[in-house]
């Protein structure tokens, strides 16, 4: 096989890891609270800025900055739920989507106001691995591994703990859980915190690969939503598979055509898939 094609496929696999990590938190929110946080990618952006400022400006060690950024993102997640989603939890899902969309404008503009529109680079350069003549981005490899570990931990948390069971139960039937003595509100708040925290985790890995700027959310926000829907809302494994399908379309399409055409193919694939299987690849009707 063509070595460059192989490299494209491997890089696609690694990109899939990044996308899977990004979609993890959104998928949780989507599945449990049944809300599309259009603002999700902007929470990632905020956490990226947090890492940048704490590390580059205040001189915090990288890992401390990462931890702080995850905490900040989790806090933003809680605030999104308490301030924006909760007052309109009963109204049409599209209104919730739009309300978080207003928040998207807010965070984006606030970032422009505070930090300007410059592209900011963390300045941490990770080596590029060379493996049997193939060049592989080390930061993407880390993102890939962390995405896998994150998904497994999240799966164990949802499957094995009491809280996780409550979260899964509430995603199946909102009304009944209240009657069963589960405090819905605290489940939602905890889910939002975890969702936000996962956005923060994704941010820590993205900031190693990409420059931060106020509009970075718009570049990978849409593809993250598509992946969640494609995988079946709230279906973690489906989301994972969808992330890798999308990333392969982008990688292989990019190899044969151009980067833009590859993304066009990915979006067209999404549109066709949602028409054929609106419940997602692994979703149940």
């Amino acid at each position: 096989m063509d070595i460059y094609l192989l490299e494209a496929i491997i890089n696609g696999l690694l990109l899939g890891g990044v996308l899977a990590l990004l979609s993890l938190g959104l998928n949780l929110i989507f599945g449990v609270i049944d809300v599309v946080w259009i603002v999700y990618a902007e929470i990632v952006m905020s956490a990226m800025y947090a890492v940048y400022w704490l590390h580059n400006y205040y001189g915090w060690p990288l890992f401390l900055a990462f931890a702080a950024a995850i905490m900040i993102a989790a806090l933003i997640g809680v605030l999104v739920h308490v301030l924006v989603i909760e007052p309109i939890l009963g109204s049409a899902p599209i209104n919730q989507l739009l309300a978080t969309g207003g928040l998207l404008f807010f965070l984006q503009s606030l970032a422009t106001l505070l930090f300007g529109t410059e592209f900011r680079n963390l300045g941490v350069r990770l080596p590029v691995l060379e493996l049997a003549g193939l060049y592989i981005s080390f930061s993407r490899l880390i993102a890939f591994v962390v995405a896998l570990i994150g998904a497994v931990i999240l799966y164990l948390f949802l499957a094995r703990t009491y809280l996780g069971t409550a979260i899964r139960a509430i995603s199946q039937d909102r009304e009944i859980m209240g009657l069963m003595g589960v405090n819905e509100r605290s489940v939602y708040v905890i889910t939002s915190a975890i969702g936000g925290g996962l956005a923060g985790l994704a941010a820590c890995l993205l900031v190693l690969q990409y420059d931060v700027h106020p509009f970075i959310g718009l570049t990978f926000g849409p593809i993250t939503f598509m992946i969640c829907v494609l995988g079946g809302l709230g279906n973690m494994i489906g989301g994972f598979i969808a992330a890798f399908i999308m990333s392969q379309i982008i990688a292989i399409g990019g190899f044969f055509f151009s980067a833009e055409i590859a993304e066009v193919l990915a979006f067209v694939f999404f549109i066709v898939m949602i028409l054929i299987r609106p419940q997602g690849i692994l979703g149940k009707k």
């Binding site: 009963g90 207003g102 300007g116 066009v264 609106p278």
Partner: protein, 331 residues
């Protein structure tokens, strides 16, 4: 039409005529407000019936690029190019809309499909950089003042053209608002199956309103390109513009004829006002305030600015007895 009604039409007509007598800068603002009002009104045609499109940037982009490409490459007058662009936008909308409506893709699924469509058009424009200039943008071939090329450096002339287009948009809005379509589409928005059960052709009604909405959006895009004389995929298409269209319409009030227009005036006014006040020190300040306001609007007053005034007016006119009727649309 009796004299009393004629007098009632005078103040709005005076407001619309005012920009003709104003300095250049205000004319520039007026043209922008009127063009965006047309686009927002078109979006609201769908949006008010819960067909929330997050991809209207796609149709704006088609409207902007097609006439310019036809003009630059084959010297086709925009007077012909714009109808062609509108037809193409409608075709694109129907190709995606038909299976969507057929398979009952609604709510936030519909929103995400349209979001993807917006991305597709944006990326195609960027990818076809040999003809569209890609991210660098392009300019229509300049011939100076020409009605044939719809290149009108005189702002008051362009304002007249934009105003005419806006009036068409408002007329369509009223036509839909007063026709049977409105009742049918509201029923569909509430419950598709029930609407179908009482004999409403759900698919047909949805396709009709989608075609109207996208055609007018393309018209707005074409006018905006002809006015700026510069096209750029980020200005004319893409997620940013699509969101701008949605949110300005909601802020103004998508359930009222003049709501989207108020939304356009409000957002452009806010932006310009803060820019003049603070200069370039606080880039993003206007949108930060705007974003916060949007969240408040959507949570507490989904009918927007105009909706708020309508509510206040009906409350003062007829003081409701106990248990005031809720004027908010029931969710």
């Amino acid at each position: 039409m009796n004299a009393q009604r004629l007098i009632a039409y005078l103040p709005p007509a005076a407001i619309l005529a005012l920009p003709f007598f104003m300095p250049n800068y205000y004319q520039h603002l007026a043209v922008q407000i009127v063009i965006w009002s047309l686009v927002y009104t078109s979006w609201s045609l769908m949006g008010r019936f819960r067909l929330t499109s997050l991809g209207h940037g796609a149709f704006l982009g088609v409207g902007a690029y097609v006439p310019t490409l036809l003009w630059n490459n084959w010297s086709v007058s925009p007077w012909l190019g714009i109808p062609v662009a509108m037809a193409l936008a409608v075709t694109l909308a129907l190709v995606v809309g038909y299976p969507c409506f057929r398979l009952k893709v609604v709510g936030h699924y519909f929103a995400l499909v349209t979001l993807a469509l917006g991305q597709v058009v944006l990326l195609v424009i960027v990818a076809a950089r040999d003809v569209t200039g890609g991210s660098l943008g392009m300019t229509p071939r300049i011939v100076g003042h020409s009605w044939y090329a719809l290149q009108l450096p005189d702002k008051s002339e362009f304002y007249a053209v934009a105003l005419a287009a806006w009036l068409i948009g408002i007329a369509v809005w009223f036509r839909v608002d007063r026709g049977m379509e409105r009742a049918a589409l509201e029923a569909i928005g509430e419950d598709e199956d029930a609407a179908a059960a009482i004999g409403i052709d759900v698919l047909r009604e949805k396709l009709k309103i989608t075609a109207l909405s996208t055609a007018l959006t393309a018209l707005g895009g074409a006018l905006y390109a002809q006015y700026l004389m510069y096209l750029n995929p980020d200005i004319m298409s893409g997620v940013g513009v699509s969101f701008q269209i949605v949110f300005a319409s909601i802020a103004g009030g998508m359930y009222s004829a003049l709501g989207p227009t108020v939304g356009a005036a409000f957002t452009i006014g806010l932006n310009e006002g803060l820019r003049v006040l603070f200069g370039t020190h606080f880039i993003g300040a206007a949108n930060t305030i705007y974003g916060a306001l949007l969240v408040v609007f959507i949570i507490f007053m989904p009918r927007g600015i105009v909706g708020l005034f309508e509510t206040l007016r009906t409350r003062t006119r007829t003081p409701p007895p106990s248990g005031a009727p809720d004027t908010q649309p029931a969710e």
